[in-house]
């Protein structure tokens, strides 16, 4: 719920002489950390793992990659595979299958350190359609994007949505769950921060729905809360809790995936 967001933005925007400017800040020096990104989906393989390192906030250069790691993925059905390095920090599977309900374990050996992570692919919930509602607010059209899907009766489902506007990936973390409404068709809009993006009639909107496990949802929800800057700022930001051991940043996620597109009315 981004009530706070709506209130503050409208309030400040409408009534006051609020202004924004880019400022120069003194940043603390940063310790470069290992970043592990691993994805397994219910679609066809190969699946990829990418290993990079973080860089200082002010840098505009490229991210260092790690190409000499030993990467293994196994599942709870007894399959295990060492991934093939493909250069530029990527590693891919050859035979492993992404199956709903299975728990996958990722192990990365890099620079004398071992990192491991686990993720369970939830049962797929079908992505029925995208519903778009429009409201005229302060003379402008406000779009509500509602992903329609039948949430199953079992509790504890988590969903992540990835949004492309006119084929451009939008860097926002959109998470829904069945904590408040369980077992019904979803009718809740995605809380898209439209500060910097603007929807227009005729825009193409693509939405990827991912059924994700609890830990992956916590990671993205934390990111979403951090970027939710109400009056005086959102939650105190930090590195979101992730599912990789030994201090690596990043995320390993086994998820189901389904993508739909719509043209804005």
């Amino acid at each position: 719920m981004k009530m706070k967001n709506i209130v503050s933005i409208l309030f400040i925007g409408l009534l006051f002489t609020g202004c924004e400017k880019t400022i120069d800040l003194d940043y603390k020096s940063n310790q470069s950390r290992i970043i592990i990104q691993g994805n397994i989906t219910n679609g066809a393989g190969p699946y990829y793992v990418k290993i990079t390192k973080s860089i200082p906030l002010k840098d505009t250069g490229s991210y260092p990659v790690i190409d000499d790691a030993v990467v293994t993925i196994s599942d709870d059905a007894g399959n295990s595979e060492v991934l093939t390095a493909g250069g530029n920090g990527t590693y891919h599977t050859n035979a492993l299958a992404g199956v709903e309900g299975r728990t996958y374990t990722l192990t990365v050996q890099a620079g004398n350190q071992t990192y491991s992570a686990q993720s369970t692919m939830p049962k797929r919930v079908p992505f029925d359609s995208i519903r778009v509602e429009t409201h005229i607010v302060t003379g402008e059209t406000e779009y509500s994007i509602i992903p329609v899907y039948p949430d199953p009766l079992t509790k504890g489902n988590n969903y992540r949505f990835v949004l492309w506007l006119n084929n451009k990936l939008i860097n926002q973390h959109l998470i829904q769950n069945d904590e408040v409404r369980n077992g019904v068709a979803n009718s809740v809009r995605l809380e898209i921060n439209d500060d910097d993006i603007e929807f227009k009639p005729g825009d193409s909107v693509t939405l990827q729905m991912q059924c994700i496990d609890k830990n992956v949802a916590l990671y993205y929800r934390t990111l979403a809360l951090i970027s939710d800057s109400g009056p005086g700022g959102g939650t105190t930001p930090n590195n979101p809790p992730n599912n990789i051991s030994n201090g690596a940043l990043g995320l390993f996620s086994a998820y189901t995936v389904e993508t739909k597109s719509v043209v804005m009315p």
Binding site: T22, E142, G233, N239
Partner: protein, 767 residues
């Protein structure tokens, strides 16, 4: 064990001091304002023949002094009023009630001590009294005079941020301030997201802030008490006063119901920015306003008994067409019965109701959802003041509060999850004594015993390391977990010479209600929660030392205080907690400790055509919570190293008054990203130590000018012109990090500022 020792020694101290003194007769009475019949709080009553004996009137204008038989002269003095000398022949207990004449032409201090050298003779520490009449001259944004904005200019009291009505006292959190309006707790003291306080200054008589060393009759919050008292209403004549501003207007009507015996006061206020906004077609579906209403009536049953009723109702409304709507507000009601049981014993019984609720609703074409939360109190208070003898004033009493707390609860289409209300009983008994040991030594000491009972009617979960280990279903009316705390309080002042005093103090405070907020500022969505099986009462121990000196024949007054405070059972969220949707908020909490220390300096100029003060605070406040910042100590977000306020009021002529304030403070402790990485094609920020960074410093100059028109018959009018942020400083409100539009590889830090040059004009009238 040590608690027992403290109790025993305090009781011993109390009994010996009372037995030692011997008295003959008592003179007592009530002091009022001549023109309105309003009782005066804090009037100094001195015995001229015995200059070491003096008392001040209590919250209801009552005083009592016991003296051996003889002839005396009583001197009644109060800042802004003409001093009165009254001869008394003491052969039996007598009543001397008098009215003081208001010298409205007299412009003294903005925040006035009750007496020229009051800071030297009282043991109380960390206490400031605000006089609303003079606070009105301090410039504020939109020209709406504001009590809370004024106290934020005092050392040790820090605003949560520009435009915010939340404040932090001596390193404490925003929820650690007990805000009382005629004894009723106000749970959210702000309007319009904090730009205005709940207190309509026209309806306020006076306000006192006590920074941690509160007397034993106050309790329930760690950091401070802000005790606000409403006007009683003129019992001599009808009077209408009000103000017209750019943003809001006010109107107050007061007068006698029965001349000299009973009176009433009704005061209302409403903002109307939205009415203008609605004229433009774009804004016609937006509603944004607040209003509040204060009402008070009192009735003197006879010379010994008086009844008071006071009520407050305030509401904020914000909605955008049918898509989104929210409202929130406080309601309080207080019924009080004052009784002078005998010339030495004053009793006050109060029955108090207090409610805060918040609603927010979202609607789409196919679904509706509403979140709401509330806290509702029923409160009984009994307080006795016993003027035992000239050197001892004893206060004792009890307080029982029944809380009903509903956490943020979701309702609407398809909602299956629902949270239940919880109940708790918060009670306390207390006793304290103000002991004038000698001409130079004053000691205030007291003890408060506080109890919190978790009451049944809901399910309580027990967590260990955020894992559910047990659940307890408590039947309705059943007592669950009980918490007991002893809170000793002591402060002493020792007068070094006629112009200098040193003070020391210690106080323990506990807090059983906690505000759950996951935003840096305050938000109306923040919900209160009581103690439970996991949440223990917060405890603070504060040690302070102070030095006061009056300079230049009381024209200047210097107060400095240093404090060290430790806090236990502090609460924070664990990472990623979404307080609105999580089924049990308690599963998301972490507990730890805090410490705060600092030095406060306040130099006031109290006399002359230029008055005002300079307040400076050097301080530090930190937290240590397992599960946050690798279990290391970190700066609390409200930690600010330097905090400076300068207030000046210059009386140019009989008609014109100029005033200005300047503030400077170190930015809040915040966490900025230190690095970045890419995950699934999205840039993610990397963070280091919690709150290791700082917002840029805030500084600002505000000025205002007040013109008082010559009175025409009964009509008195005045114009106030203000300019907020004179030199247009862009103070940081928030800093966000964004990808640069032209070069997404580059991350920009974007600062949002609120107010640059806000002019205001207000017309105030009275007839």
């Amino acid at each position: 064990m040590y608690k027992k020792l403290i109790v025993t020694s305090l009781l011993l101290l109390l009994s010996t001091t009372l037995l030692l003194a011997q008295t003959k007769y008592t003179v007592s009475g009530t002091v009022k304002q001549k023109s309105s019949g309003e009782t005066l709080i804090g009037v100094t009553v001195m015995v001229v023949e015995k200059p070491t004996i003096g008392v001040i009137t209590n919250e209801y204008g009552f005083y009592s002094v016991s003296l051996p038989e003889g002839n005396y002269t009583l001197r009644f003095s109060y800042v802004g009023y003409k001093q009165e000398l009254v001869p008394v022949k003491l052969e039996s207990n007598v009543t001397v009630s008098i009215s003081l004449v208001d010298e409205s032409s007299l412009r003294e201090v903005v925040i006035s001590s009750k007496k020229d050298n009051d800071n030297l003779t009282k043991a109380s520490m960390g206490t400031e009294v605000l006089n609303m009449k003079e606070a009105a001259k301090i410039p504020v944004v939109f020209g709406e005079k504001d009590l809370v904005k004024t106290i934020q200019l005092l050392p040790g009291v820090k605003s949560n941020g520009e435009g915010s009505n939340g404040f932090s006292v001596r390193g404490g959190a925003t929820d650690q301030n007990l805000i009382l309006l005629d004894e009723a707790p106000v749970y959210n003291a702000s309007h319009l997201l904090g730009f205005f306080s709940s207190f309509n200054s026209d309806a306020i008589k006076d306000a006192t802030i006590i920074k941690g060393n509160s007397p034993a009759q106050y309790g329930g919050r760690l950091s401070s008490v802000l005790d606000v008292k409403m006007k009683e209403g003129n019992n001599k004549d009808y009077q209408v006063s009000g103000g017209l501003g750019l943003i809001s207007s006010r109107l107050t009507i007061e007068g006698p119901i029965q001349r000299d015996r009973s009176s009433f006061m009704i005061s209302g206020r409403r903002t109307y920015a939205d009415l203008f906004a609605r004229l433009s077609s774009d804004m016609k579906d937006v509603k944004l306003y607040f209003y509040d209403l204060n009402a008070k009536a009192n009735w003197a049953i006879n010379s010994k008994n008086k009844l008071y009723f006071s009520g407050y109702f305030g509401k904020d409304v914000f909605s955008v067409s049918t898509l989104f709507g929210s409202d929130w507000g406080n309601a309080t009601a207080t019924l009080r019965w004052n009784s002078i049981l005998n010339s030495k014993l004053f009793s006050n019984t109060s029955l108090i109701y207090s409610n805060y609720d918040f609603n927010v609703g979202f609607k789409t074409n196919t679904s509706a959802m509403n979140f709401n939360s509330h806290i509702r109190d029923l409160n009984l208070k009994q307080d006795f003041t016993w003027y035992a003898n000239a050197n001892n004033t004893v206060r004792m009493g009890f307080n029982i509060i029944h809380h009903t707390i509903t956490p943020t609860k979701a309702e609407g289409t398809d909602i299956v999850n629902n949270k239940k209300s919880r109940k708790g009983l918060e009670s306390a008994v207390y006793v304290s004594n103000s002991w004038k040991v000698s001409d130079v030594l004053n000691i205030d000491y007291g003890l408060r015993f506080s109890i919190y009972n978790v009451l049944g009617g809901g399910l309580y979960n027990i967590y260990k390391g955020n894992k559910l280990v047990d659940s307890i279903k408590l039947a309705d009316g059943k007592f669950g977990k009980n918490y007991y705390n002893l809170e000793p309080r002591i402060s002493a002042s020792y007068r070094l010479n006629s112009s200098a005093t040193i003070k020391v103090g210690y106080a323990r405070n506990t807090q059983s209600l906690h505000l759950m907020s996951n935003s840096t500022g305050g938000s109306p969505t923040d919900a209160w929660i009581g103690n439970s099986y996991n949440i223990k009462p917060e405890i603070a121990d504060q040690f302070s030392v102070g030095f006061s000196k009056s300079l230049n024949n009381n024209a200047f007054e210097l107060n400095t205080e240093a404090y060290y405070k430790t806090m236990a059972n502090q609460i924070d969220y664990r990472d990623g907690a979404d307080i609105n949707t999580v089924p049990d908020i308690e599963s998301e909490l972490l507990f730890g400790k805090g410490r705060a220390y600092g030095i406060e300096v306040l130099l006031r100029k109290k006399k002359g055509i230029l008055t005002g003060w300079i307040g400076y605070t050097l301080s530090k406040t930190e937290r240590q919570i397992n599960g946050i910042n690798s279990n290391q100590w970190y700066d609390a977000k409200q930690d600010r190293t330097h905090d400076l306020s300068i207030v000046g009021i210059y009386t140019l002529s009989e008609r014109w008054t100029l005033s200005g304030t300047f503030i400077y403070n170190t930015g809040n402790a915040v966490t900025f990203p230190t690095g970045k990485y890419v995950l699934n094609d999205m840039v993610i920020y990397q963070y280091g130590t919690r709150n290791a960074d700082r917002m840029p410093a805030t500084h600002r100059l505000d000025i205002s000018a007040t013109y008082e028109r010559p009175a025409r018959k009964r009509w008195q009018g005045s114009w106030s012109f203000g300019l907020y942020n004179v030199y247009g400083r862009r103070n940081p409100f928030a800093i966000t990090f964004k990808e640069n539009k032209t070069n997404p590889q580059k991350i920009d830090a974007v600062q949002t500022s609120l107010f640059q040059w806000v002019p205001s004009v207000t017309y105030n009238f009275k007839f």
